[in-house]
């Protein structure tokens, strides 16, 4: 998978290394506030929202961070890059299923 189109993967690696630039935008996107942010952003927590907000309990790298690595921008940067690497590997793993299925 990685041998063909080598430069695409090099380009991707550069983007992964630059990805912590995304941390500079500290604001939460509209309509994506967590339960802890709703009081400030909205003023109240809707009842139905509170009920379903934590539906999924198995997030391993919450908000692209490594749990425990929260001390300062350096660790956040490292966590972000690790998250990008893990995400890319998982995406490639899933898509590579189609490598077996597709015809020559």
């Amino acid at each position: 998978m990685l041998k063909t189109y080598k430069n695409l993967w090099w380009g991707l690696l550069v983007l992964i290394i630059l990805s912590p630039l995304g941390l500079l935008a500290t604001g939460t996107a509209f309509g994506e506030w967590g339960l802890d942010e709703l009081a400030d952003e909205v003023g109240f927590i809707p009842a139905g929202l509170a009920k379903f907000a934590d539906f999924w309990q198995y997030v391993l790298l919450p908000d692209y961070s490594v749990p425990g690595m929260n001390a300062g921008f350096g660790q956040a940067t490292a966590g972000y890059i690790i998250s990008a690497v893990v995400g890319v590997l998982l995406v490639v793993l899933v898509i590579s299923i189609f490598y077996r299925l597709a015809r020559d």
Partner: protein, 239 residues
Amino acid sequence: MHIPDGYLSPQTAIPMIAVMVPVLGVAANKVKNDLKKKQIPVLAAGAAFSFVIMMFNLPVPGGSSAHAVGAVLLAILLGPWAACLGVSVALIIQALVFGDGGILAVGANCFNIAFVMSFAGYYTYKLIKGAADKLSGRGMAAAFIGSYVGLNIAALTTALMFGAQYHLFQAADGTPLYFMYSIKVAVATMMSEHIILAGPVEGLVTVIALWFVGKNYPALLADSPKWIAGNGKGVGSHA
């Protein structure tokens, strides 16, 4: 644009999952039957690109943030069905592993960001590009405008899903149960962010990435090779 869990009623979220299961089934079949083995690495790299580009949050004045997606880039390279599949894979992994977007909401997010954006952007692109080469001035302008329009239509359908909750689902005392602002507020906020900031960035990212792909692997941008839709029917059309 990744809707978290709790912002959509189950009456909205569950039907959206039911819609996306067959859509992704069709997309998977199209990829399996219509893409060649050697194109799968391009799809993998493109889906991974989409995953990473969504991590580049852009600061929106007023304290919010937005980001590009890369779906229309994938649609230009491999057709809208492959783009829909690739971006959906990225979105599902973002939801499961990183908590970016909900699990109940994953159908809605795949619908807006993968399906709507890929198809709306791709056909806008096709319409503007016409018979021009992909790397010509007109081809590049079409890529910019197509990806700009695709992202903005995805932002619009997201805003409509958000806003509909406010009007349809309220507690007995009138307080909103899920998303808490009207359609008017949701559309105005989402659209201003994407029309002014994220849209132009999406256009730039798409054009730069296309240029990069074309410079390194011209064959991937060759006009109407057998495996790329040359007639607007998606990846399924063998010329």
